[in-house]
């Protein structure tokens, strides 16, 4: 309903504004609410997946990568910016944060505009 490419006119609205495409939450890009953006630093990541578990909006997926060395993780987080609201939980809960090396640095969204 909030497709930015082709905004609906009133004539396109189904009666009662019924949403007749189930599972359409994916089409609703709530990332626009974000004022801070987590920026991922691959060099800190051990691939533990804690960020993926803690993300309250399933805006982190673990993606397979080709590690440069055997010690580096096979799966690393990817932030889905269409949905990430910038809460910063990933940056806070990241295991590496305990060593002052969080995988995520929260940066003002302004800097990306």
């Amino acid at each position: 309903m909030t497709d930015k490419e082709k905004p609906m006119g009133w004539k396109d609205i189904p009666a009662g504004a019924v949403v007749n495409t189930p599972g359409n939450a994916a089409g609703y890009h709530t990332g626009g609410w974000r004022s801070q953006r987590p920026v991922f630093n691959m060099d800190h990541c051990v691939g533990c997946g804690v960020c993926y578990l803690y993300c309250p909006d399933a805006a982190i997926v673990m993606v397979k990568v080709e590690p440069r060395t055997e010690k580096l993780p096979e799966y690393v987080p990817e932030i889905l910016l269409d949905y990430c609201k910038g809460c910063g939980i990933c940056a806070k809960e990241c295991y590496m944060a305990a060593f002052g090396r969080s995988c995520f640095q929260m940066m003002d969204e302004e800097e990306f505009r």
Partner: protein, 392 residues
């Protein structure tokens, strides 16, 4: 054609709901609506009506249950009055925005305070912008007929909008009147089974009553407004077909002895019956008086009203509610808006009357009309109004 029977108007309305084969009735008893739901609960308990009667704990729940039932594809009915309507207020707006064709009888009663169980239109006027189709009836037969008409129009796939039938509390609800009831065969011919345009179904999931961000809310409201206005031809068609089956014909705006009238009275609901007697008396005396009755309040029948008023010089607009602090009372303000652009606009005299069931006699209607007859025709401020019979 069925025979004429004497019965209390509330019972006749309940019989109409039975003839409509309502699936779910969710209502909370409140004076003066009580006899409608009492009788319906008897009909369900006795197995005469195969419906679910939901004994809710409040009107808020009554309308909520109707919303759920209607969304699931059931023909849902409720009735209330005054504080009951006020308590269900928020859900009333949700029902129309979800386009659920619920039918509700409103046994019009004053809103508190002071506490009053008697009739006026303050309850419905406080909900007039709720997006429902709103009818006013003036006698028992019309209340019975419009129960079936309301379902028929509301459920039309091109409409799918809830409808409320305003009937004056006590003045109509508690009187015994002659009614010609429809047979089940006639009712079935007039009112086809409910085929909802959207329905809650686990096999075909939809989301109803979702939230909307500012970027779409305006479009949704525009669609709702267009749909309500577009219901008008369907309402006319339902009245026409109802007339063909029963011989009883209805129109959005009805006129009584308006030919060549200088002064027209504009009334809604049961007071129109007394007003007709006043018109008869004055016509007998040779005075150019007529009556215009608004049966349809929403969508407002602007064109019909303009046609009905014609070249009349003065309008006596009767309001059964006060629009506290408003530029004009509800009906007068509506009419002022209709005539604002009219090149030959009549002068509007506004009278508030019949609050909390206070009787209005034929003589009092005549007094109001005489005052308008004698007054200057030069347009005056619409906001000035009299409160009939108020003691200083």
């Amino acid at each position: 054609m069925s025979k004429r029977v004497g019965m209390e108007v509330s019972i006749a309305v309940a019989e109409a709901v039975k003839l409509a084969n309502a699936d779910v009735i969710a209502a909370y008893p409140i004076t003066p609506q009580t006899h409608i739901v009492e009788h319906l609960s008897e009909l369900v308990a006795d197995g005469e009506l195969d419906a679910e009667f939901v004994c809710v704990e409040s009107e808020h729940s009554a309308m909520s249950a109707c919303v759920g039932a209607s969304a699931a594809g059931a023909r849902a009915y409720t009735a209330t009055a005054s504080q009951g309507l006020a308590l269900m207020h928020e859900i009333v707006f949700i029902a129309s925005s979800m386009r659920l064709p619920i039918v509700m009888t409103l046994a019009n009663r004053s809103l508190s305070g002071p506490l009053s169980i008697w009739n006026d239109h303050s309850d419905t006027m406080a909900s007039r912008d709720c997006g429902w189709i709103q009818y006013f009836v003036e006698n028992g037969q019309e209340a019975f007929d419009h129960t079936l008409i309301a379902f028929r129009v509301a459920e039309d796939p091109a409409v799918s909008i809830p409808a409320m039938i305003n009937m004056d509390g006590f003045i109509l609800t508690h009187v015994i009147e002659p009614h010609v009831l429809m047979t089940q065969e006639e009712a079935d011919r007039f009112l086809p089974p409910f085929r909802p345009i959207h329905r809650l179904d686990p096999l075909k999931p939809v989301t109803m009553g979702d939230f909307a961000m500012p970027d779409i809310f305006t479009e949704i409201k525009a669609a709702q407004e267009h749909a309500l206005r577009a219901s008008r031809p369907i309402i006319d068609k339902a009245w026409q077909e109802f007339g063909e089956i029963t011989g009883r014909h209805y129109r959005a705006v009805e006129t009584y002895r308006t030919e060549g009238a200088q002064v027209l009275m504009v009334a809604m609901g049961a007071m129109a019956e007394t007003a007709m007697m006043a018109v008869d008396h004055m016509r007998d005396k040779g005075l150019a008086i007529g009556l215009v009755k608004l049966r349809l309040w929403r969508p407002f029948p602007t064109e019909d009203l303009l046609a009905a008023v014609g070249d009349a010089e003065k309008l006596v607009v009767l309001d059964r509610a006060i629009g506290f602090g408003a530029a004009a009372n509800p009906v007068a303000s509506e009419l002022a808006a209709v005539f604002y652009d009219h090149p030959n606009r009549p002068r509007i005299f506004n009278t508030v009357l019949g609050l909390a069931g206070r009787d209005v006699s034929v003589g009092e209607f005549e007094d109001v009309l005489k005052k308008a007859l004698d007054a200057d025709r030069r347009p005056g401020p619409v906001g000035d109004f009299d409160i009939l019979g108020v003691r200083e």
